[in-house]
Amino acid sequence: MKSSVIVFPGSNCDRDIAVALEKMQFKNQMVWHKETNLPKSDLIVIPGGFSYGDYLRSGAIAGKSKIIGEVIKAANSGCLVLGICNGFQILTETGLLKGTLLRNRDLKFINKDIHIKVINNKTNFSLKYKKNQVLKMNIAHNEGNYFTNPKHLEELEKNNLIAFKYCDEKGNINNQSNPNGAINNIAGIYNSKKNILGMMPHPERMVDKIISNTDGVNLFSSLLN
């Protein structure tokens, strides 16, 4: 399986995701933001970081970059696209995913291990997980507070487009287990065709038990399937 990781100036999880993909036997390439051609790939990953410094709204400039037009084309023709953290923010800026990511409820950057629940385990990204499985993952963001309009929110819930929700160790989804104030505890969503996933937690940080745990492995092995 061929993957491409898009590298913007200011991306800083690009190496981490490349390491995880290679560990999972993907044939990976790094694609610089000034490129105008995207190599043929089965999976495109937009990694975390602070693209172009994020001095404007997070992801806003990356959403208008040269390479992103190619990403949009590929996504529309069915290529799998994964946006993690800043990548999720960029996907919402391009319109490939609806909604937006506001500043965290407490107006502070948060880095910690949190728990998420697998809501939809029937997609290319999640079929190796069990439904309602609780995963421990790491988050690291300042703008992770997902927000969308009531109509879209209803669509997300009704059409099973919510990938993950924040929960506690035992799987309870409530205000206490919501680290950043995201609407309905949403940690990750799909587009309507379910070929695009945007998520705030970092699965690439959870593939090595010396560092953390291996709860992210199944996301990548689902993709290989």
Partner: protein, 726 residues
């Protein structure tokens, strides 16, 4: 412009220093030249009060590749790997403008590390604030923490460990010390020494603006009531540009284009060019009209003294200019040849072909003033705290007081604002005795910790200096690392005061004794004097940053109890030293008496034994005993996994409070699987080290027989309140 006495004083120079300048130049300097002298001769850049004392520190060892004097120290960790690290202060700017002051402190220390060819792999910090009740503390804490996070998170280097402390001594002069650690290949270390004539001097990075002019001089003076007016001397950080600069520099460093490279830190273009030329015994000529400027009509004076961030000066090999330029253009950074090396041994500054200033390099560097300032010794305090005269307090209440105090509370409010995981090699994060960072793609790792004990140092600087090196050493041992070398950040008051100078000289003597005995050399560091406001000096606060090596990281060790029914032993003797303890401070507001004694022989034997046991995989968890004593350390081990402990009171006990809360040095608590106990006991007895069997782990409860029994979760709650309520 006539140089008046007032202009001289405004440049932070003494009149006798000005006379020296006239002598060295054999004429009067112009304003540009005076500015350059003031930038190079201030305390921050010249180390004029500290140099003669710093010379005494041990800086050699088999593990040392580069000691002090370069941008950062370099040590050998085996194979072809080297670790590059340094700590630096950014105290004054952070007090004036906490967010930018702290952020640029991080940016500056990172540049020191990647200038040498290392990819930064970890950041640490030691931050000290005034009393929580002081009106400024809250906003300073908020600003500094988000500034440190803002810079490190954006550039994508994990902030993995640190200390956050409060004491009224820092009410009007906080401390913000940042440490960076990088990894390089041994044969690819880059130095700042210039070589060769007529080589291109290249300016790369951000443009030069009017920010930070005279920042280094500001950092070399005491604060007064008008300190707020110094805001314009604080630089503004841009972590995004630094990320680009980091990647561009590392890309250029892959081949052999670079002869020498130096970041523009304190005193900007001035100190970087002078340092490169001075180390290479060369001259350097700069065409200031070529320097990329952010603002129009900047004068040579402003260009030379600006401390705009994210800039580097590089001397390139002939013919490498084009390729280097391409790399920097790829990263959208300025790349301009602004001068060349010469054989004049002068710093020559030109504007549109006309010389604006010319100063012998030696006059700025090696001939800078050096003072042997007066200092006095401090006697070991005699005043005794009589424990038996104090009001009785229940053990549990005293413990709660400590656990809920600002200095001992859980610091996740702080550390959760730092990305600790990016780069995916952080095996142990903040909260551990030391952070563990794996070397990328290898199975070895380094352990890192920063430590300070201002109260001990104030009470008796010699013992305090000794103690803090040992504590740092113990923290590395506790995660199974062999301690290799340290960097130090020496935060002191006004060196013109002989008591303060005495604190400095004696802390350094203490540091020296411990480092020598433990083979734990100093490879880099920074001195920050003039910490104080209106003649009130801070307590002496040397901060030690240590790096150790874990040869094979199979299972990263920490201090959390792992299972029930393990045997808990205490290595090292307990005498019950309560003076200067956290127990007396938090429960009786007494900060008095002498610090605990440091016995280097025991320290070394105990540490080496613990490391041996860990390396033989006989230890489930380990923790050093420090501030708060045995009971606090034990308690900290119970939190993560809700595994408690049941301890017995020792036989032939004189005083339980002293036993539980005493801060005697050289002690470790170890958790041992029952099945390994006999083996462990035999090894300890063979090593002739004192130990006590103090109890066993149990489910959920923290218990001292006949004294207290409390649910671990309740103690954890107590430990977690303070920051959230603040």
């Amino acid at each position: 412009m006539k140089i008046t006495d007032e202009i001289i004083r405004n440049h932070g120079l003494e009149l006798k220093e000005y006379k020296e300048i006239q002598k060295l130049l054999k004429r009067n300097p112009n304003l540009l030249e005076l500015g350059i002298f003031s930038a190079m001769w201030n305390e921050h850049c010249s180390y004029k009060s500290s140099r003669i004392h710093l010379k005494k520190l041990p800086t050699n060892g088999k593990q040392v590749i580069q000691g002090p004097g370069e941008n950062a120290g370099v040590i050998d960790i085996g194979d072809d790997d080297a670790i590059v690290f340094k700590i630096e202060s950014h105290n004054h700017p952070s007090y004036i403008e906490p967010y930018q002051g702290a952020a640029t402190g991080v940016g500056g220390i990172l540049r020191d590390v990647f200038t040498m060819g290392a990819r930064p792999i970890a950041l640490l910090n030691s931050i000290h604030f005034g009393s929580p009740s002081h009106p400024k503390t809250k906003s300073l804490l908020n600003g500094v923490v988000s500034g440190i996070g803002g810079y490190g998170n954006c550039i994508g280097i994990p902030t993995v460990a640190g200390e956050t402390k409060f004491d009224e001594t820092y009410n009007e002069n906080i401390l913000v010390n940042a440490m960076a650690v990088g990894h390089a290949k041994k044969e690819k270390i880059f130095y700042s020494k210039a070589k060769g004539l007529n080589k291109s001097v290249v300016y790369v990075g951000s443009k030069t603006g009017r920010d930070g002019i005279h920042g280094a001089s500001m950092a070399s003076a005491e604060f007064d009531d008008n300190s707020e007016e110094k805001k314009p001397t604080v630089q503004v950080g841009d972590p995004f540009t630094e990320k680009l600069l980091l990647e561009a520099c590392l890309e250029l460093m892959k081949d052999d284009s670079i002869i020498s490279i130096q970041d523009m830190g304190a005193a900007g273009l001035t100190s970087s060019s002078v340092e490169m030329a001075s180390k290479g015994s060369l001259g350097i000529e700069l065409n200031l009209d070529k320097v990329p400027c952010r603002e129009e009509n900047m004068t040579p004076y402003e260009i030379m003294l600006s401390e705009s961030q994210e800039r580097m000066l590089i001397i390139l090999e002939d013919g490498k200019e084009e390729n280097a330029k391409k790399i920097f253009e790829k990263w959208d950074l300025d790349f301009v040849i602004i001068g060349k090396t010469t054989n004049t041994k002068n710093l020559t500054l030109k504007l549109n072909g006309l010389i604006q200033g010319e100063i012998p390099i030696d006059a700025l560097a090696s001939m800078a003033p050096k003072y042997d300032r007066q200092w006095v010794k401090k006697k070991l305090p005699k005043n005794k705290v009589e424990i038996k005269n104090l009001k009785k307090i229940k053990t549990e209440d005293a413990l709660n007081k400590i656990l809920s105090s600002p200095n001992h509370s859980n610091k996740s409010w702080v550390t959760n604002q730092f990305d600790q995981m990016v780069m995916c090699d952080t095996a142990k994060r903040s909260g551990s005795d030391a952070a563990i960072i794996r070397i990328h793609n290898k199975d070895k790792a380094i352990a890192i910790s920063v430590d300070s004990s201002a109260n001990y140092c104030k009470s008796h600087p010699l013992t305090g200096g000794k103690q803090i090196v040992c504590e740092n050493w113990r923290n590395l041992i506790s995660v199974g690392a062999k301690p290799l070398a340290i960097t130090n950040c020496l935060n002191f008051g006004n060196p013109e005061n002989k008591e303060i100078m005495g604190e400095f000289a004696e802390c350094l003597e203490g540091i020296k004794e411990s480092c020598e005995f433990l083979n734990y050399p100093v490879v880099s560091g920074n001195v920050s004097f003039y910490n104080g406001t209106n003649k009130k000096n801070i307590k002496p606060t040397p901060v030690i940053g240590g790096v150790g090596l874990i040869n094979k990281l199979s299972y990263p060790l920490d201090h959390n109890f792992k299972k029930e029914n393990s045997i808990i032993i205490l290595i090292g003797k307990t005498f019950g030293h309560l003076e200067q303890s956290c127990f007396l401070k938090e429960n009786y507001s007494i900060v008095d008496g002498r610090p605990p004694e440091v016995n280097l022989l025991n320290e070394k034997n105990n540490g080496e034994l613990v490391l041996k046991l860990i390396n033989k995989n006989l230890i489930l968890s380990a923790h050093d005993v420090s501030s708060g004593g045995l009971i606090t350390a034990l308690c900290e081990m119970t939190f993560a996994n809700s595994i408690g402990v049941k301890t017995e009171k020792p036989k032939n006990l004189r005083n339980l409070t002293q036993y539980l809360f005493g801060e005697d040095q050289g002690r470790y608590i170890l958790e041992i699987d029952k099945k390994n106990y006999t083996t462990v006991e035999k090894i300890i007895k063979n090593a002739d080290v004192y130990f006590e069997n103090i109890g066993i782990t149990q489910k959920n409860y923290f218990e001292i027989s006949g004294e207290m029994k409390t649910a671990v979760n309740d103690l954890f709650k107590v430990n977690n309140q303070w920051y959230n309520n603040f």
